[in-house]
């Protein structure tokens, strides 16, 4: 789970998405194929090689008002076509903390 803040070279080993945090509230979002952002990973545009990743990241960076800190993150695509986060960090970003809230809901 090397921090993507240290991501210097764009080299992807499998299907990936661009993720960021929405500017006004900070929630986790994913870049869509329609040049927008979605909070749902299943809406994310999937890239499969470095050139695609670079292009998607470039357009994401250009949308500075919509979201901040975009980076490329790995995903896994199941046999049913469902997209899942590719590592623990992204799993936590998608589903929330692993520890439960101290506040009883």
């Amino acid at each position: 789970m090397t921090s993507p803040l240290e991501q210097k070279k764009i080299k992807i080993a499998g299907p990936s998405v661009v993720t960021a945090n929405r500017t006004w509230d900070g929630i986790v979002v994913y870049r869509t194929a329609a040049n927008g952002w979605s909070a749902d990973l299943s809406d994310a545009a999937i890239v499969r090689n470095s050139d695609e990743a670079k292009a998607l990241l470039a357009e994401s960076v250009a949308d500075d008002v919509g979201a901040i800190g975009p980076y490329i993150a790995p995903v896994q695509i199941g046999a049913d076509g469902k997209v899942q986060p590719g590592n623990l960090r992204e799993q936590i970003r998608r589903t929330g903390v692993t520890i439960g809230s101290p506040v009883q809901v």
Binding site: T23, I27, D64, V65, I92, T98, I99, V103
Partner: protein
């Protein structure tokens, strides 16, 4: 408590207006994130995994009850109903929305709280002993000097664009509860042979990827010269500190590379130029700050009131009293540490309801005052001994009477990969599992004083280097792996821990700690020999053998 004057109030309010405008311009696109980032950091706003994180300063760890209530209000209105007390006398809110941050800041400003100096490459929140002003044997209240430095450094242009962040901690007791030796500058308040107040000045301490214990740069600096001496240190740092490499930019690296002797000479030369300037502090300035600290009107109370004598029959109360209640400098009063480490809970977290209730208890039992310690616990600094039984019952109802202060379940942990964008591994679940493993109070007491510190990355916000047992989470081939050290400590005898061997997986950490503790219990010469004494006597080897014999 310290009462802010009109200048402070104006400064805090102006800061809110300024930030409101900056946020508005950011959300409209007038400011890019690159332009805005430094501005938000100067107001304590980070971007974490799930959301923005808002870090609020609690200067020298002193809070009034109305301030704690307002923190509860911010947790409830703008966040998810809780806050996280950090290792540097700050509180963090994890789920705040950028668009609402100016309102949250404005609400905090109503009670004199702000987020200045909680992030960025500037002089950070000055920290101190959470028992300041009430600890027996203390030379003088260190918060007076903390406040002096706070006033001098807040928004000071020379300290606002340093090579890296810069942290100062002050203690005035023999036993260091402020961890001054792991700060960029550590100040130990002392008296010279003439009885004058001054400081032993230490420099170059810090943790992170290159940990160092601070070294003494000057054995006595008179109180009137402390600002000029600090400024001299900062000027040498500003001049020579590396700005080309973030990992080598802290003053500890400069002190290490120059050597303490050369660094001292540079500081001394600089100091001679400025010590007799306007930076020399008049007694009136100190007295003015002193006069703005208000102290309770203590009553003359018996050392052993009837209420305490009667409550001693209750084993639950006695366990808590022996663990969490410390002597006060005034007869008939006590300092009560409130553990924010209930079994199975995230260390340092408090809900809005707990904060509100604690504020009420502070009003009822502690002259409206609360303290925050770097171990991520709170304290009520002025509790009459006769009130201890009633306070204990109230705390117990709130889940805040776990009698584990300084024991193995009083764990320091950073937010780790559950929250932090820098983290490589989780910290909090490790802490939770360890508290469950050692939840038996008799066992924890049998083990005695033992501090476990956990960090989720090499930046060491969980102070793992100075944990008696330190746990560092790293990432290896996509998995969380934890390196274990033993023998670290953050007190007046501060030391860095030693690695015991190869890292272990997430699921193995609690087993390894159990092995270390079992080895200690078998190896100690007598029950009074603390874990640290056994490690000092025997070194790492016997613990290493025990842990890795079957792994």
């Amino acid at each position: 408590m310290y009462a802010y004057d009109e200048i402070d109030r104006t400064l805090v309010n102006e800061r809110v207006s300024e930030f409101r405008d900056q946020v508005k311009r950011r959300l409209s696109g007038e400011l890019t994130e690159d332009e805005f980032k430094m501005l938000r950091l100067q107001n304590g706003v980070y971007l974490q995994l799930h959301a923005y994180m808002f870090r609020v300063a609690i200067p020298y760890g002193t809070l009034a009850s109305n301030q704690l209530r307002q923190l509860a209000h911010v947790a409830r209105k703008y966040d998810r109903g809780y806050g996280h007390f950090t290792t540097r006398q700050n509180i963090q809110f994890n789920w705040i929305k950028l668009a609402e941050l100016p309102d949250a800041l404005a609400d905090l400003a109503e009670v004199g709280i702000h987020a200045m100096q909680t992030s960025g490459n500037n002089m950070r929140n000055v920290t101190s002993d959470q028992w300041a002003g009430v600890a027996p044997g203390e030379i003088e209240d260190p918060r007076i000097w903390s406040e002096l430095i706070r006033q001098h450094t807040t928004l000071h242009p020379e300290f606002s664009f340093l090579p890296r962040k810069f942290k100062i901690a002050i203690t005035a007791s023999d036993h260091d509860r402020a961890a001054i030796k792991i700060h960029d500058i550590g100040l130990r308040l002392i008296k010279n042979e003439k009885g004058e107040t001054g400081f032993e000045v230490l420099v170059g301490g810090g943790l992170g990827r290159t940990p160092f214990i601070a070294k003494t740069i000057k054995h006595f600096v008179h109180g009137r010269d402390i600002l000029s001496y600090i400024e001299a240190i900062l000027r040498v740092y500003n001049q020579y500190g590396r700005r080309d490499n973030i990992y080598k930019a802290r003053i500890k690296i400069l002190v290490h590379e120059l050597g303490i002797e050369k660094f001292s000479r540079e500081v001394e030369d600089e100091w001679q130029h400025i010590r007799n300037s306007s930076l020399q502090i008049d007694d009136e300035v100190i007295e003015d700050i002193r006069s703005r600290f208000t102290y309770p009107a203590y009553e003359k109370l018996p050392h052993m009131p009837d209420e305490l004598r009667q409550a001693a029959a209750d084993p639950g109360f006695e366990a808590w009293r022996k663990n969490s209640v410390a002597p006060h400098k005034n007869q008939g009063y006590s300092i009560v540490t409130i553990s924010l480490k209930p079994i199975g809970a995230p260390p340092g977290d408090a809900t809005a309801e707990q904060m509100d209730a604690l504020a009420d208890l502070a009003d009822k039992y502690s002259f409206g005052e609360i303290r925050v310690g770097h171990e991520q616990n709170l304290a009520l600094p002025h509790v009459a001994k006769r009130d201890l039984p009633a306070l204990w019952k109230a705390l117990d109802k709130l889940g805040l009477a776990t009698p584990n202060v300084n024991l193995i379940t009083d764990i320091i942990a950073c937010p780790g990969l559950d929250y932090c964008s820098l983290a490589n591994a989780r910290s909090i679940p490790i802490a939770q599992e360890l508290t469950r493993r050692f939840s038996n109070h008799e066992l924890a007491n049998l083990i005695g004083r033992l501090h476990i510190n956990i960090s989720g990355c090499i930046n060491a916000c969980g102070h793992h280097h100075v944990g008696h047992i330190g746990i560092l989470g790293v990432e290896k081939n996509g998995e969380e792996v934890y390196q274990i050290t033993i023998g670290g400590r953050a007190d007046e005898n501060a030391a860095l821990g030693n690695l015991i061997g190869p890292g272990v997986k997430f699921d193995e950490v609690a087993d390894v700690v159990e092995d270390i503790v079992e080895a200690y219990l078998a190896l100690r010469e007598r029950p009074e020999e603390l874990f640290m004494d056994t490690v000092k006597r025997l070194g790492v080897e016997p613990f290493k053998e025990r842990v890795y014999a079957t792994r």
